[in-house]
């Protein structure tokens, strides 16, 4: 097992370097000079050249990448052009809010998905299955930013039960787990949860159906095991794959939160990314994408290792 973990970690190194390369190159595919955001419009040629040298933009690209990577390894992702504060600190503060949202959405989406999937798989080809599958298909087909708007229209505008935007009452600048804050979390979390709900439902339904049609289930029933006992076997067999899918979905929620965070003005990493894009704050854009992608890579690594650890059928050799 240790050898397997070590090999998986070694395999991640080239991926991490390539991800960093993609993030580095993002700034260089932007049209125009990367200095354009820092440089005053009436800057002289000398000032431009000075700044170019100060930022290292006059060196060859591979050297620039090497230096950038070295600094990034020391946690220095540069300073935000808009605020002047270090990018890493800005991103990590925002990521905390995104994690809060993703975890709340995961609790809702995964619970619903597992329940619907198990029920649909167990009562395959009945009306119960059809209802659960329709939920799942609607979940993966709905434009989630629109669903967010609908929920705001119903629960904030019409019923006035829940706040429409923000992440806490005015005056509060950090997250807390009390009702005053939680009611800001309800709508964004439900909105974020529909896609994972749909995908987990589909996965668990397919797994349950496959496992129930295997011979060993017949054998279990033949020896007189009650349905609850059979069900325990189904869950045990479905768990590794379902877990892997859920891990991946958690990664998508962390990295793909920009649309929902924009709808709800949720001050997370997606919201930060949005402002970085529109203020042409390239270091912040680069840093946010790098950190979110690295989160995703390491989450994938954890899922692989966890799957190998709990599923004896996976070859670790």
């Amino acid at each position: 097992m240790l050898a397997y973990i070590a090999r998986r970690i070694v395999y991640v190194v080239p991926i991490v370097i390539s991800v960093a390369l993609v993030c580095f190159l993002l700034v260089h595919i932007t049209p125009g000079d990367p200095l354009v955001a820092v440089l005053p419009a009436d800057a002289s040629q000398e000032l431009a050249a000075q700044l170019r040298a100060a930022y290292g933009f006059d060196r060859p690209l591979p050297v620039q990448f090497g230096l950038w990577l070295l600094r990034a390894l020391h946690g220095d992702l540069g300073n935000s052009i808009a605020t002047g504060r270090p990018v890493l600190a800005e991103v990590m503060r925002a990521v905390g809010n995104t994690v809060t949202l993703a975890i709340a959405a995961a609790i809702i989406g995964f619970t619903m998905g597992i329940l619907l999937g198990l029920i649909a798989g167990y009562f395959r080809e009945t009306w119960i299955d059809k209802v659960a599958t329709s939920f799942a298909i609607a979940g993966v087909s709905v434009p989630h930013y629109w669903l967010g708007m609908l929920l705001v229209i119903i629960f904030s505008v019409q019923l006035n039960w829940l706040p429409a935007v923000g992440a806490g009452p005015s005056g509060s600048n950090s997250w807390a787990w009390d009702w005053a804050h939680l009611k800001y979390l309800v709508l964004p979390a439900i909105t974020t949860s529909v896609i994972p709900m749909g995908i987990v439902t589909r996965t668990v339904r397919a797994l349950t159906g496959d496992i129930l049609s295997q011979d060993f289930v017949e054998a279990l029933r033949a020896k007189g095991l009650r349905e609850t006992g059979v069900f325990r076997h189904v869950i045990k067999n479905a768990a590794p794959t379902a877990l892997a899918v859920m891990g991946l979905q958690l990664g998508y929620m962390l990295g793909g939160s920009i649309l929902i965070e924009t709808v709800f003005s949720w001050p997370g990493s997606g919201f930060l990314l949005n402002s970085a894009i529109f203020q042409r704050d390239l270091p912040l854009l680069q840093g946010t994408i790098l950190i979110l992608a690295l989160f995703f890579v390491f989450l994938n690594l954890l899922v692989d290792i966890a799957q190998a650890a709990i599923d004896p059928r996976i070859k670790r050799g």
Binding site: I137, I258, I277
Partner: protein, 300 residues
Amino acid sequence: MSELPLSATADAALQAAPATKARGYWATVGRRIMRDKVSTACALVLLLIFLSAILAPWLGLEDPYKGSMIRRLRHIGTTGYPLGTDELGRDMLARLVYGGRLSLVIGILPVILAFCFGTSLGIIAGYVGGKLNTAIMRTVDVFYAFPSVLLAIAISGALGAGILNSIVSLTVVFVPQITRVAESVTTGVRNMDFVEAARASGAGPFTIMRVHILGNVLGAIFVYATSLISVSMILAAGLSFLGLGTKPPEPEWGLMLNTLRTAIYVNPWVAALPGAMIFAVSICFNLLSDGLRSAMDIRN
């Protein structure tokens, strides 16, 4: 002369063969789709949306660009404006119908482009194998290290707003996914006997890929690509919603949803209409793709 009757029988059998010929694969798939009620309904809804988008100028609709300050945000069902008016007083029905033109193109074109690039890359990687396969597939792995929404927004954000940039960024998101599927089905086919036979009879690698491999892997890749259209529609409209795609005053569902966001306190249901269009197209493509998948799975 004694063989004559025998060869005559063989001739007769050969001539009779076309009459009893089984229906072709695609004809069977088509029939199965037609028999599936859900797929047929989805196909009809999509046909309606596509036709109305194409024929928009000849449907006698209002001008989708002409606004009026005195008739802003009319409710659904107002006389003359069956679906109300938007925040600048433009007819919603006209804008939703015209909006289909851009929304469908920016949602579907990336998948078509990615289908062409991804299939070519995947077949080459799968058939040639070796170092080329490693090079292509490891590059694909790098793109898998990004959640697709993040990758699309990163590229669009770096390239700047614009329809072309949004199509490019979504194509980049889907190429790796299709390449992976194409590579895996091609590796499954490349060592089969008929490929070996083609090689033995002197066919070059290009001919084998074009004639013998393509026909056998295209179906599977096509079904996978159709399942991506729904995601692509949502993401393309999402980019416009963020302000990274279409620019005003162009009618486009994602952008309309964004500009109408401010109106949810005045006229919420009109504000929600463009999203309903995205949802309808997306769910229809999803269900149709599911229907196609089970119709093509002849073993069932």
